[in-house]
Subunit: 245 residues, 2 copies
């Protein structure tokens, strides 16, 4: 029999790390804490909030992301739980949360989600609203709570995920050049890749199909366009991707 006194019930929240790819940069979606008194030293945080009483975690993440940023119909990958008992130890953060929630806050355990979407001025699909804004992953402002750590871990999870899920291909336009897909990988991985090896390995994949269409109106030698064939990808013999020696 465990003593009842040693347990207690923390608050539960969700936080969303939404990565946005612009074509040559990786950004993260942040929201601003506004109308707070006293004024906050640290303004930015991830879109996230406490969950409702009968809400499923995934459902809460979708609702909160929509309410705070206007984004919806985005696939959210749950990647980690942050439950360090000290994560509310910053007084400014705790005061803000108590004021904005009307609750007395001790411990908050948060479940974190990530997603990768395309952002583009001409693309109204992923328009954001309210106090949400995109920030370059390499120049983030100071962040509330442990949100810098959550973003770091979210990026690690994204880097793992692109090894075995076609997230990157689904992000690109229907026709793309090898250079475009390589830039996407380089931006996510945060490092340059060897052009020759990348090209060689990519062109071996039967689900990457040449379109026999070339770029037009470019100053350099026009590159070939390729397309991602999802049917082939899903129907391929996956056996060898199970072991990646």
């Amino acid at each position: 029999m465990v003593e009842a006194g040693v347990h207690y019930n923390p608050h539960l929240s969700v936080d969303c790390v939404i990565f946005g790819f612009t074509g040559d940069q990786l950004k993260v979606l942040l929201v601003e804490r506004i109308n707070t008194k006293p004024a906050q030293k640290t303004k930015h945080k991830l879109p996230g909030d406490l969950i409702h009483i009968l809400e499923d975690l995934n459902g809460a993440a979708e609702r909160i992301l929509y309410e705070l940023t206007g984004l919806k119909n985005i696939f959210l990958h749950q990647f980690s739980v942050f439950g360090n008992p000290d994560r509310m130890s910053n007084e400014e953060d705790r005061n803000w949360l108590e004021e904005s929630s009307g609750l007395t806050i001790n411990r908050v355990v948060t479940t974190a989600y990530f997603s990768l979407i395309g952002i583009d001025n001409s693309n109204s699909k992923n328009e954001i609203k309210n106090n949400a804004s995109w920030h370059d992953i390499n120049a983030l402002p100071e962040l509330a709570f442990d949100h810098a750590e959550i973003i770091r871990d979210g990026l690690e999870s994204l880097r793992k995920e692109i090894r075995y899920e076609p997230i990157c291909f689904e992000l690109l336009p229907e026709k793309f050049t090898i250079r475009e897909i390589q830039v996407l990988y380089e931006v996510i991985l945060g490092q340059q890749l060897d052009n020759r090896n990348f090209r060689k390995k990519l062109l071996k994949a039967e689900y990457i199909e040449p379109l026999n269409i070339r770029q037009k109106g470019v100053a350099h030698k026009p590159a070939m366009y390729y397309t991602f064939n999802k049917d082939i990808y899903e129907g391929r013999n996956k056996e060898q991707s199970f072991y990646n020696f």
Copy 2:
């Protein structure tokens, strides 16, 4: 301002899916709910419990695994949170938890961990105690709560993890045959693999080194032993493993 009434604080627990590899079978570690009244229809569950008040989730998982099964110094991979509001809806499960914890239970959100260890009668390192026992992954008894689902998801996570982490190599004895490592992959993946492709791909990895020692006293043609060179694995050019087309 959110209404305080819509939030409430669930209980928090951890559950551990410990996979054990015997050399040719994959097993899962379960514990028995004993000394309960009335007697339980469903006896088995994963090793798991409610966390303590100031306990970190990872620390709680280690403590609870040790208390319930005797296992320690095992690397636990956090893989998912199970927070469905209905997961305590089975009356027998809820009654048992209330009785054993002395608490009134509404909602319990659990953070799940998996690990893969070697089990072997000659290996006293991973000896288990109390009411813990190993069960074949393909013949599990009826399980309490949503533990069957947690095991399924844990196995999926293990299958992903072996694609980019050397978990399997670290599990094998210092010298192993190609057949032994293939059986380990087959048992985890739950399917036969093509011998020729597997061998070819494995032997291309420079961190798998032939020992020029062969099996002795076997009825078939004695196989070559290989070893896993962790230094080469960690020092290798990882670039190409970042994209697995």
